[in-house]
């Protein structure tokens, strides 16, 4: 022990550092227990700092005239100009007719934020999530990251104010856990209970199940740029080898349908009665594989193990497909990927064979066809098929339903001939609530509105599959995030609760010119943002300009991709390419 003093010093140092560490505020350790999931605990009074009390008085007016305009329509986008006509009137001029325009502006991604607030946060979704400032029935009280989002009712709401003063969003990936929390009374409503639990919920007098109509598609995608899927015979063989009826019977809840085209039957124009998909015929599949010279085919099936309404049990369905294809001599390796990585990889065109689906954002065929088969940036099926693109674009630009249907019939026939993908199912899903909750519903667009619920308790706890990414949804695509935003923000129009019907939102009314290229919206007067600012036409222009104009200082978002904007309205203005 020659160096006893060295050891002593070291020990002293360790003790000292522990003492210092102990004196530091430990936010996670101390706050987490306070936020234990107990239904009856009324949420602790949050500091008013979450919604910054701006010094300006309530009901302040900050209208300015605004106009954002593209020099011409050569840039390839849908918008020609967006302008304020007067304080409560805003006009959109489009480059080409768009029959689904009202449905698009009703979609919650295109919600309206206050112009001053948007400028102050330079459109940064993450920053705006700290203190989201919307017009909705609920405002944010606190977001305990990784645990829960706590809302409180907005007393100045323009419509019928929320009946339940406190709203809490929680999440769990595990459907069994969601159900357990509902059964034990910790939460009042859950999203996507597992299909095999439907009977349990229906049999429980304290719970109620609300089926969600199937407005979605689950498909098996091919990328025809990736071998061996470049051979149409291989794609056809796989189409013949898949027993879609069995998949729907075994893995989908009641109310689901076998898909024969890419859109659900409710979407007309879009759905084609006349087109029938390839029947299940394993012998035919074997013959085709022989013709293609691919008798000992080994392929990889990629998927993400994330439950969505269109695919309630991804891993099981993948194994089913694996076994079905094994019967015709195809060896399938299953490749489970992380959700975001998977979406990025399919969109980049690197996955040849994969399971994916699509849930409607608005009830229009353009929402399905345009995004998948006619968007330049989407390489998930390989290079676009020019004749398919032509038909889809043609259908999107006319408003006569019968004429559109003619194009969509061709689209569906082409999709079948090329075997671009295999449509498998339109999956029904559900929400479940305590039986005592009034106004409970399941929306076909998955945008459940918590503001219409009633309860004996002064708090409503909702449990969904995932945590929202942000609370300002302009740059989001995930339904879990959108639902959290929808409680705070509102769009020009909205969807009727539990339905796909468009109804007035922040705009009281709208008119379009005859060829559907000019849309004028009249805003509701006296609508207040949570910070007290009044809604006016410049807020609408500023909100749209932030995403449309790539040169705008507010064109930030979260990733800056704004997938929905490009899917709905094509190109950005001033895009740097």
């Amino acid at each position: 022990m020659k160096y006893r003093w060295v050891y002593a010093l070291f020990a002293l140092f360790v003790v000292a550092s522990m003492v210092i560490a102990g004196c530091q505020p430990a936010p996670v350790a101390t706050e987490a227990p306070a936020a234990q999931p107990t239904a009856e605990v009324v949420v602790p009074p949050a500091e008013p700092t979450t919604v910054p009390a701006v010094e300006t008085p309530a009901g302040r007016n900050n209208y300015v005239e605004m106009k954002v305009e593209a020099p011409d329509c050569e840039y390839g986008g849908e918008f020609k100009s967006i302008e304020t006509v007067d304080e409560f009137t805003v006009k959109f001029t489009l480059c080409y007719p768009d029959a689904d325009f009202p449905s698009k502006v009703a979609f919650s991604v295109f919600s309206i934020a206050d112009k001053e607030y948007l400028d102050a946060n330079s459109g940064d979704s993450v920053k705006m999530s700290e203190a989201p400032n919307g017009t909705g029935p609920y405002k944010l009280k606190e977001w305990v990251r990784g645990d829960r989002v706590i809302y409180e009712a907005n007393p100045n709401y323009w419509g019928t104010a929320a009946a339940i003063p406190n709203l809490v969003f929680r999440w769990s990936e595990q459907s069994a856990q969601r159900l357990l929390e509902l059964q034990s009374g910790q939460v009042d409503g859950i999203d996507n209970p597992a299909p095999e639990d439907f009977a349990t919920i229906e049999g429980d007098a304290n719970l109620a199940l609300y089926p969600r109509p199937a407005l979605n598609i689950f498909y098996i995608g091919f990328n025809h740029n990736v071998a061996p899927f470049d051979d149409v015979k291989v794609r056809q063989a796989i189409a013949y080898a898949i027993d879609r009826q069995r998949i729907v019977d075994q893995y989908y809840p009641e109310g689901s349908q076998v898909a024969k085209v890419f859109v659900p039957p409710a979407l007309k124009p879009g759905y084609s009665d006349a087109v029938d998909w390839y029947p299940y015929d394993p012998e035919m599949a074997k013959t085709l594989l022989k013709e293609a010279g691919q008798e000992n085919l080994e392929i990889t099936l990629s998927l993400r193990n994330v439950v969505r309404g269109y695919l309630p049990t991804p891993d099981k369905v993948a194994q089913e497909i694996q076994a079905q294809l094994a019967e015709v001599g195809i060896t399938v390796n299953i490749n489970v990927m992380e959700s975001t990585a998977f979406i990025d990889a399919t969109a980049a065109g690197t996955e040849g064979f994969y399971l994916l689906g699509w849930g409607a954002d608005y009830p229009g065929a353009t929402n399905f066809y345009d995004y998948h088969f006619a968007a330049d940036t989407n390489l998930q099926f390989g290079d676009l098929y020019p004749d398919l693109v032509e038909e889809i674009r043609a259908a999107g630009k006319i408003s006569d339903p019968a004429a559109r249907q003619v194009h969509y019939d061709k689209v569906n026939q082409l999709l079948k001939d090329y075997v671009v993908m295999i449509p498998v199912a339109h999956g029904a899903s559900a929400t479940a609530f305590k039986a005592s909750i009034g106004g409970a519903h399941a929306s076909p667009l998955s945008n459940e509105v918590m503001g219409v619920l009633t309860s004996d308790s002064d708090q409503f706890v909702w449990m969904q599959s995932g945590e929202p990414a942000t609370l300002w949804c302009i740059d989001e695509t995930d339904g879990e995030t959108l639902r959290a935003c929808e409680q705070i923000f509102e769009a020009l129009l909205s969807f009727k609760v539990g339905s796909t019907e468009v109804e007035p939102g922040l705009a009281e009314s709208y008119v379009a010119n005859d060829d559907a290229t000019e849309w004028t919206f009249t805003l509701r007067q006296g609508v207040q943002f949570h910070d007290g600012a009044l809604l006016d036409a410049s807020d609408v222009v500023a909100s749209y300009a932030a995403v449309w104009d790539a040169a705008s200082p507010n064109h930030v978002g979260r990733t800056g991709n704004f997938e929905y904007f490009t899917a709905f309205f094509n190109k950005f203005l001033n895009a740097t390419e």
Partner: protein, 309 residues
């Protein structure tokens, strides 16, 4: 006269070899017998899986619903229904067949990872213990670093690096078990190499390799056998854990951990799907642990001559 008596006495003592003695005590060790029965049963299942299992473990059954509970004719299941002793799994396959085939996989996993770990760990430990000096220091510090990580966590890290898959999972489990065997072999080698017979071998001019492989290693094997038996149990558990997390065996392979992981959400509405694979893992690990304990008692020289267990 007295010395003659003494000589007679000694010659009368029946000589039993240490191995035979250990075996005798093993067969008198109650829990070891239980362990051997379990493992023997498992071994028979694994070897004759094809003959015993009523169905192909990866074949989808067309005439049943997925997640159906067990249908046993003796217990009142309608006779016109096909019999499925363990029920149907989440992909409408026969669970009994999958559990039976799973025994094959689990035994392979246990044996292969432990053999790998013993081979590498044993060589490292023997060299470190026999050569000593700076080589010993370097090798053992590397082992210490490996040991500093929780074994499952390290295995997950290795699998994430190598990519998922059964082979990579086995490799990862093998790697994390190396230090345990290396340290064990090193310590026995160090204690054995100072014993008289080694000194004797050295004094008659035997070379280093001969001393190490001919005298030291054979005499350091006993603790290794015990440790290996217990190690197999840990390896099976680790492999099941990795598969449970989706990092090990790929579907549709009938691996117990994977079967558990896939159906963990149906624990309330189809408990048989997690019960049977869970019991299978439990019994296998129990079997190896019991046998390991019995072996340790049987091979312990201090207990020689006493009735164990």
């Amino acid at each position: 006269m007295t010395s003659n008596v003494a000589i007679l006495d000694v010659s009368n003592i029946k000589y039993t070899s240490p191995g035979r003695e250990a075996l005798r005590r093993l067969f008198h060790h109650r829990s070891a017998i239980l362990g051997m029965i379990i493992l023997g049963f498992l071994l028979i299942l694994a070897i004759f899986a094809k003959q015993i299992a009523p169905y192909d473990p990866i074949q989808l059954l067309r005439d049943v619903d997925r997640r159906e509970p067990p249908c046993i004719h003796l217990l009142g299941c309608a006779a016109d229904q096909p019999q499925h002793l363990f029920g149907i799994d989440g992909n409408s396959r026969d669970l009994l067949s999958r559990v039976i085939y799973g025994s094959r996989l689990s035994l392979q996993v246990g044996l292969s990872t432990v053999s790998f770990a013993i081979l590498i760990g044993g060589v490292i430990g023997a060299i470190a213990g026999f050569v000593g000096g700076w080589l010993d220091d370097v090798l053992m510090r590397i082992m210490d670093v490996l040991m500093a990580f929780p074994s499952l966590l390290l295995a997950i890290a290795i699998v994430s690096f190598l990519g998922t898959g059964l082979i990579n999972a086995l490799l990862a489990i093998g790697i994390v078990s190396i230090p345990r065997f290396a340290r064990l072999v090193r310590s026995t080698v160090i204690s054995v190499k100072e014993l008289e017979y080694v000194v004797a071998a050295r004094s008659i001019g035997a070379n280093q390799g001969r001393i190490l492989f001919g005298h030291i290693i054979p005499n350091s094997l006993t603790p290794l056998i015990v440790q290996a038996t217990l190690g197999i149990a840990t390896a099976i558990l680790d492999a099941a854990a990795l598969s449970f997390l989706g990092l090990g065996a790929e579907p549709p392979r009938p691996e117990w951990g994977l079967m558990l992981g896939e159906e963990r959400n149906s624990i309330f509405n189809a408990p048989h799907l997690v019960f049977f694979p869970g019991v299978a893992i439990m019994l296998t690990v129990l079997g190896f642990n019991l046998l390991g304990d019995g072996l340790r008692d049987a091979l312990d020289p201090r207990l020689r001559g006493t009735a164990a267990g």
